[in-house]
Amino acid sequence: MPWTQAIYYRDATNVEPVDAFIEALPKKRAVKIDEFIEEHLNGQPIEAPPPEFPISSQIEGELRELRVRFARTRYRILYATPLRAGDDPRYLSI
């Protein structure tokens, strides 16, 4: 059975903006976000429904947000399921 895998969006300058954002956070916060992604977006059957609110919510179309709470801060990690026909359905772009 194919499983989902979260991957970073990489821009034209070869930068992965969300990875750069997480990398700059204090380490405890980076761990919380990385493990939230691992728990809720990685290793899911591709036909499984998206995580329910408040873990995630729909923004528009295939664009969703993963809602990670750390102390008094809410991080909203935007991600998208494959947008075009023919895209590999395993990959969730962050």
Partner: protein, 132 residues
């Protein structure tokens, strides 16, 4: 990793797998590894005692010590330690005070099973103890 590939999908708009980046962070930072250890312990605790895990995680993220929570909640360090270990369940008034220190409010909920329908739920603030 949980059953997913670890190889990069290749050049183009797709970057690295998030899991690979997290692994790299773990390799490079002792502080990151320490936080991983704490969250792993909280995950294990949550399997047998959600409340204990919640209090431990919230206190950890707010960077409060057990002693600080105990002092502000009007209880003892050893009491908070036992609650976080899952060895003791506090009374409702004490739990309210602990959660208030953690910037949270205790709600009480009940659920009723209704044949052929979604369960009915009611949630309300925890009651204040009667004045002496």
């Amino acid at each position: 990793m949980s059953g997913n590939e670890n190889s990069s999908p290749g050049p183009g708009p797709r970057g690295r797998p998030v899991a690979a980046a997290a692994h790299s962070r773990s390799q490079r930072s002792e502080e990151y590894r320490e936080a991983q250890t704490e969250y792993a312990a909280i995950r294990e605790l949550r399997k047998r005692n959600w409340l204990a895990a919640h209090i431990r995680e919230r206190r950890y993220e707010l960077e409060l010590t057990q002693r600080e929570v105990a002092q502000q909640a009007g209880t003892s360090h050893s009491f908070i330690s036992r609650v976080e270990a899952g060895d003791h369940i506090p009374t409702i008034p004490v739990l309210k005070r602990i959660l208030a220190v953690l910037d949270e409010e205790l709600l009480i909920g009940v659920e009723r099973q209704v044949p052929d329908e979604e369960p009915e739920r009611e949630v309300a603030p925890a009651p204040e103890p009667a004045a002496a």
